[in-house]
């Protein structure tokens, strides 16, 4: 019983930050039709930036609770600085080209950002674990769980609702939905599609960085964390369906729980269980669970 609860909580925690990150990826694909291979890099930079902000905050003797704000600000900083830069200088010159070509462009971006991160922050790992203790421990039965994990889940729910509300209940959101359906028609109705692309991309980067920033206390922040994240994010959006919010949620839950079960019950399967699910979904229902994009020719 305790084991089942542990698996569940582990899975939900993993699914939480994964959802936030994958949501950004799926949003960028939905609007710009770009599968961003550098998305994991923005996650990593978010984590690094959070580590920096938190250590500056500690040096300036800020209150411990303020570290959460610092982490949020870190994510915002990453989005505000990097998103316009990459979108304008890189992606814009390749819009309208073949979708696989754009993936290769984002792969080039990934290579560049990997080294940029190493050049700025160096190769030694950062540990920014103070925030992890902020919520104390929660005891359920004989097991003790870290409060931060539950807070992470809360953040994921908050983010999901915020994005859903933003897209479906605000005027700007409806404009974004229009662009998702047809950029040409939206453009002919007077929508500044360029700005919408920029907005969507910035939010996407922000979500990736947010996921990274709030995951930082749980991991060692070092080169290479982007590599695993992007792959598992791909699995989530493929399983859930590209461009779908609900899909990102279901996909993240599936991946989180599958991985958690594997880690606790069948360690042999830990690494490939997720990709096996991804491959199976691609083989039998390639549009994902919530999507209408045509994936197969036949």
């Amino acid at each position: 019983m305790a084991a089942a609860l542990t698996i569940l909580i582990d899975g939900l925690t993993y699914a939480s930050w994964l959802f936030i990150v994958a949501l950004g990826l799926t949003l960028v694909f939905g609007v710009l039709k770009i599968l961003n291979m550098a998305h994991g890099s923005f996650y990593a930079i978010g984590a690094y930036m959070a580590a920096s902000f938190v250590s500056w905050g500690a040096a300036l003797k800020w209150a411990p609770g303020f570290t959460l704000v610092a982490m949020l600000l870190a994510a915002v900083a990453v989005a505000v600085i990097l998103a316009p830069l990459t979108e304008r200088s890189l992606l814009r010159s390749f819009y309208g080209r073949d979708e696989v070509l754009l993936v290769l462009v984002t792969y080039a971006m990934f290579l560049i950002l990997e080294d940029a991160t190493k050049l700025i922050w160096g190769a030694t790992p950062f540990y920014v674990s103070e925030p992890y203790a902020l919520f104390g421990n929660i005891d359920i039965g004989t097991q003790s769980y870290v409060g931060y994990d539950f807070a992470m889940f809360g953040l994921a729910v908050l983010v999901g609702l915020a994005v859903w509300w933003g897209l479906n209940r605000t005027r700007q959101g409806k404009i974004v939905l229009a662009v998702i359906h047809s950029p040409e028609v939206a453009s002919s109705m007077g929508v500044n599609v360029s700005k919408v692309y920029m907005l969507a991309f910035t939010i996407g980067v922000f979500l990736a960085a947010l996921g990274g920033a709030f995951t930082a206390p749980m991991i060692s922040v070092q080169p290479g964390i982007s590599v695993g994240v992007i792959i598992v994010s791909f699995a989530v959006v493929i399983i859930g369906g590209l461009g779908s919010i609900e899909g990102a949620a279901i996909g993240a839950l599936t991946v989180g729980l599958a991985r958690s079960m594997a880690v606790h019950l069948a360690p042999v399967a830990e690494l490939f269980s997720v990709y096996l699910v991804m491959a199976v979904v691609l083989a039998f229902r390639p549009e994902g669970l919530f999507q209408r994009i045509q994936a197969r020719k036949i």
Binding site: A108, I231, F234, I238, F272, R296
Partner: protein, 324 residues
């Protein structure tokens, strides 16, 4: 893509005989030059040739409009096959191991080929990527395959003869170049064949190929299987020179490098793929000592420049095939 306007496209490509002549000539020159090269350089060229074979397979698929993002799996399967055959079954002949690597990778690809032939664009890329990551996961976790460390393999023999320390590097160099040259010539022949032309047409207008009676899915499946053979052979050869095999060969970043070389070389010239592979090896080795934290950045920038200004790869600089 930047298309040349109104300039007539070049007529029929150079005859196959001439190409064979040039290919074997280049091989001979490299063999002779290799005798005088420092060991680290022949090793670099050996790896360039072995890795180039994987990218050659990717080019075969790219000509049909598909980019596989999981060819590292074929490299790994070929490498592990060679290593296991050598260590567990005592098969040590290098040429046999190279071909075995290719054949086993080909066999592994067969069940997936029909499935993959139904996908296009990013879904094709994602499915190949997923398969390679499943393979990676298996290789990491299966202890009898060495787990995350992989394992070493003993030095191969050739035609019954043991290879002495002093010359084993050179012999592997010659063998790898030989296999690469043969497969490169075969690739050129296949690209210029009727199936090769149909593949190019598929990239342009798959529908019309179907309506003309051309078997599109079969062609894609065949291209995938052939790419697996090339990848597996490259993997076996690479692993024999490295003396070591490990799961990271199947990781997606390895596959990304093979794709990088294919893009850099382009689909028009087979030799360009190997030149591109050499460029990567050179950058990789020098950067390790001199700029370990910025060589990937250089590669990324390079890739962007190529995609933007030379979308048909460096091969388009010297090869003016009758198609764009």
């Amino acid at each position: 893509m930047a298309a040349t306007t109104s300039t007539p496209l070049a007529p029929a490509p150079a005859s196959l005989q001439r190409t064979i002549f040039l290919g074997l000539g280049a091989f001979a020159v490299l063999c002779i030059a290799g005798w005088f090269m420092p060991k680290w350089f022949t090793f670099l060229l050996t790896m360039a040739a072995a890795n180039g074979l994987v990218s050659l397979g990717i080019v075969g698929l790219m000509r049909g409009g598909l980019v596989p993002f999981g060819q590292g799996m074929m490299f790994a399967v070929g490498g592990y096959s060679a290593a296991l055959l050598a260590n567990k079954l005592g098969v040590t002949d290098a040429l046999v191991l190279a071909l075995a690597g290719g054949l086993i990778a080909m066999l592994v690809s067969l069940p997936f080929a029909p499935l993959l032939s139904r996908y296009r664009g990013i879904f094709f890329a994602m499915l190949t990527l997923a398969l390679s990551m499943v393979t990676y996961g298996l290789l990491m976790k299966l202890e009898w395959l060495g787990g995350s460390d992989g394992f070493n393999l003993s030095r191969p023999t050739l035609l019954g003869m043991k290879l002495p320390d002093a010359t084993s590097g050179y012999v592997m160099y010659v063998l790898t170049l030989f296999v690469a040259t043969v497969l490169a010539l075969i690739a050129r022949m296949v690209f210029d064949s009727t199936r090769g032309l149909m593949t190019l047409a598929m990239r342009d207008n798959e529908l019309r190929v179907e309506y003309l009676g051309g078997p599109v899915r079969q062609a894609i499946a065949l291209n995938f299987v052939l790419a697996a053979f090339a990848g597996g052979t490259g993997g076996a050869l690479g692993v024999m020179s490295l003396g070591h095999v490990e799961p990271s060969f199947s990781f997606w970043t390895t596959s990304g490098e093979f794709v990088f070389v294919a893009i850099l070389g382009g689909w028009q010239s087979v030799s360009a793929v190997f030149v591109a592979s050499m460029v990567l090896e050179v950058v990789r080795s020098f950067s390790g000592s001199y700029f370990p934290n910025s060589w990937q950045l250089a590669l990324g920038l390079f890739l962007l420049v190529i995609i933007r200004f030379l979308p048909n790869g460096i091969g388009s600089l010297w090869s003016h095939k009758g198609h764009s």
